[in-house]
Amino acid sequence: MNANESLEFAQTQVARASLDHCVKCTICETHCPVSAVTPKFTGPKFVGPQAERFRHGESVDHSLDYCSSCGACTLACPQGVKIAELNSQARAVMKADDMPLRDRLITQTTLMGMAMTPVAPVANAALRIKPVRTVVEKVLGIHRDAPMPHANTQTITGWLKKRKKPATHATRGTLIFFHGCAGGYFEVETSKKSIEVLEHLGYEVLVPKQGCCGLAEQSNGLFDGATDKVLKLCDELRTSGRDLTIISSSGSCTGMLKHEAHEIMGVDDVRLADVGTRIRDIMEFLLELYDADELPTDFKPIELTAVYHAPCQLKSQGMGQPAMEVLKLIPGVEAIESGATCCGIAGTYGLKKEKYEIAQAVGKPLFDKVKEVNPEIAYCDTETCRWQIRKGSGAAVEHPIFLVHQAYGLS
């Protein structure tokens, strides 16, 4: 499928048929985190199945741009209407002719990592300078207070090259690890710990050279670039073995591969279908092992009470909250479910100057809960959400694999 076909799919196809299943029960409305905090967004039912009936090309309801694509509506809909997918498609069509430069830039996550890593201290410092951020806001429309990643001096590839290979022999077979761009450049520690946990369990872990999944471009309606990226990534992941399970510690990117590229952009390609069915979120994988009585539970106790927040794009994979179940197995750990639908950032949504306030309001109950339960530390599976929660609550926010790593005595 080429770029034009993706957009044509968004104009005409499949998910639109599901709107006839809508019975106007309003369940989606009650789950929408955006319309809860602003009247600027008329809500998933109005913008979705209702406005969709009048759409001939472009949507008639431009408040559509305020949808953050968190997917809570689709997840909650008991009638199977693909509300979030409809809205993402309609937005891509609406923005096609006047895509802001900003949206083209902030979606280039790999580029950002490549540019920042060699000059990490400088980049980090620059992002802390108010006047710099003010100029960026004025010129590009990225809000001056929006959370930014913290660049690392070492990439995951750098670490893999330099580290000592695990001494023990793999007894459980081989896995492929997908770290995502954030896990490659910014949240490197999450990738390291994930690999070490898998090796501790007895797996050999292969980490092929890999690019971006294209999620940020997809959610900004840049379907052409996103389609190219996701298929390139599928090729890269497939080079390491055709039947191996792929493990990811990047909650949202996993969703792009499992269903979003196919359902939102209509990418109908055997390579994507293959990777999408082989990939597992790392906590999902650990829980599957546990359900099969194959997960060692010789966890060392950790005395800790902290909030766990399941990202919207992890929940939208329809598997519940595997991390909550895994964390229950560690003695002493009391993970308090955040209860929040979304942290507000929704990928790049909360970076934009016209949406920053909304994103902060969406995240506020979550930030408050973190401050109340444990202001030092909280847990969350997706990188951009961690940046948002760190910024909003002041707590360190880590991937739940950190606790598993520690409980196995690896840190």
């Binding site: 409305e29 809860a36 009247p39 997840l75 909650a76 499992k258 999408g276 994979q317 598997m319």
Partner: protein
């Protein structure tokens, strides 16, 4: 520890999951979307019409069951229903549910009809339609789902069930839920009213328009998470206050749904929302696992017992094709289907036979071939999927759901306990 998969997160699925998990079972609650409880009025119906209006539902149950031999209440008797209703009351606590399952309250609806129901939110009891009731019904200009004139005029011209007369008048208040919004949902008001400062301004504005006479009827938007908001408002107004449920989004329904879902999670239930069960594996007379169609492919959920709590036609649990052939959508179970025409043309007349279609069970809610042997030895059913009831007309939905959920859960636990003791003995 026995593993149980519950399919469907309406009131039946939630109550069964909690009861099972509290007793030590490892429960996975699978649902393809939010359950119907949140669309409900936040009340628990047991029996409202049999077909005449019912005032004492538990007393009426035996006679009703005799007249309807295939009805779920033929097996779930008054004692079972009363106990189950009490169990639900305890789960939710007096801030969310009060009343006596033996006595129906008669409450005003959003069109000013009088509806019988058994357990209610404490915020609704002052609306009981009895002789001499004196109501002032307050509408909100920005809330388009509630017309106070309609409610007041209908109540004033209707003789309450116990005889006598109700006095009712209406006022409309111009009070936005949030700035710049001229059309707000009840939920937007409820969220605003969780904030004590907004609540105070709201209550004083209501006080300003109602004067000092009568009991104040308001749309059921008085707080979502703060279950004491309505009482606070009543105190600020200085009058008795009651909530009248609205069409969805139903705030009282959301309160119950949220509370039970939270309760299930804290009991250890693994809740998996947003995916559909699309298949199952059975062998040796038992269901071994169900397949859940998550993003990225099917995942198997293995268990010792399965509870089907998927609802009826409204949720897609039952599906009629264009030939009126009806299917059960998860296990393709045999259904109890009445003889003759399923849908007749007199839509305001007798109940439609179609709605009595459902699965047949034994007294422990084990699904069986209609009148015959169990289909699988570990597949149970509860709630709207059960055959024999016209729930919306009888106003029997929640009563059947809660009673069948409790009995099915207890049956599953008792089988597990027997298996454990046999395992220990051998």
């Amino acid at each position: 520890m026995t593993r149980v998969v519950v399919i469907g997160a309406g009131v039946a699925g939630l109550v069964a999951s909690i009861r099972l998990a509290d007793a030590g079972a490892r429960v996975a609650l699978l649902n393809k979307g939010t359950g119907g409880l949140q669309l409900s009025q936040g009340t628990i119906d047991i029996l409202g019409y049999a077909p005449e209006r019912v005032e004492r539902p538990l007393e009426a149950l035996a006679g009703f069951a005799q007249a309807h031999p295939g009805h779920p209440y033929a097996s779930l008797d008054a004692e079972c229903v009363g106990t189950a209703a009490g169990y639900l009351k305890d789960l939710l606590g007096p801030a969310l549910l009060v009343g006596d399952p033996a006595v129906n309250l008669q409450l005003p609806t959003a069109v000013g009809a009088i509806r019988p129901t058994a357990l209610v939110s404490p915020s609704m009891t002052a609306g009981a339609c009895v002789d001499g009731a004196d109501f002032v019904i307050v509408g909100l200009r920005q809330l388009k789902d509630f017309y106070p004139e309609l409610v007041a005029q209908n109540l004033a011209r209707t003789e309450p069930p116990g005889g006598g007369r109700i006095t009712a008048r209406s006022v409309m208040l111009d009070f936005p839920a949030r700035d710049g919004e001229i059309d707000s949902s009840g939920l937007t008001y409820a969220r605003a009213l969780d904030d004590p400062a907004y609540r105070r301004r709201f209550a004083l504005a209501v006080k300003g328009v109602v004067g000092d006479a009568g009991t104040v009827g308001l749309p059921a938007v008085l707080g979502l998470d703060d279950h004491g908001a309505w009482a606070d408002i009543a105190e600020l107004i200085g009058a008795e206050v009651f909530e009248i449920p609205l069409p969805p989004p139903s705030v009282p329904g959301m309160r119950l749904n949220r509370a039970l879902t939270e309760r299930a999670k804290s009991a250890g239930v693994r809740v998996v929302p947003g995916s559909k069960v699309t298949g199952f594996h059975a062998s040796g007379g038992s269901v071994r696992s169900v397949s859940l169609a998550t993003a990225g492919g099917a995942r198997e959920f293995v268990a010792e017992a399965f509870l089907l709590a998927t609802g009826g036609f409204e949720s897609g649990a039952l599906h009629a094709d264009s030939y009126h052939k009806v299917h059960e959508s998860v296990f393709d179970l045999p259904l109890r289907i009445p003889e003759g025409t399923l849908v007749h043309g007199d839509y305001w007349g007798d109940p439609q036979p179609l709605f009595t279609i459902g699965v047949d069970t034994d007294e422990n809610l084990l699904v069986r071939h209609p009148g015959g042997e169990p289909v699988h030895n570990n597949l149970y059913a509860a709630g709207g999927i059960l055959a024999g009831a016209t729930r919306w007309q009888e106003k029997s939905g929640e009563g059947i759901a809660v009673a069948s959920a409790v009995r099915a859960a207890d049956a599953i636990l008792s089988v597990a306990a027997t298996a454990t003791s046999q395992g220990a003995a051998s």
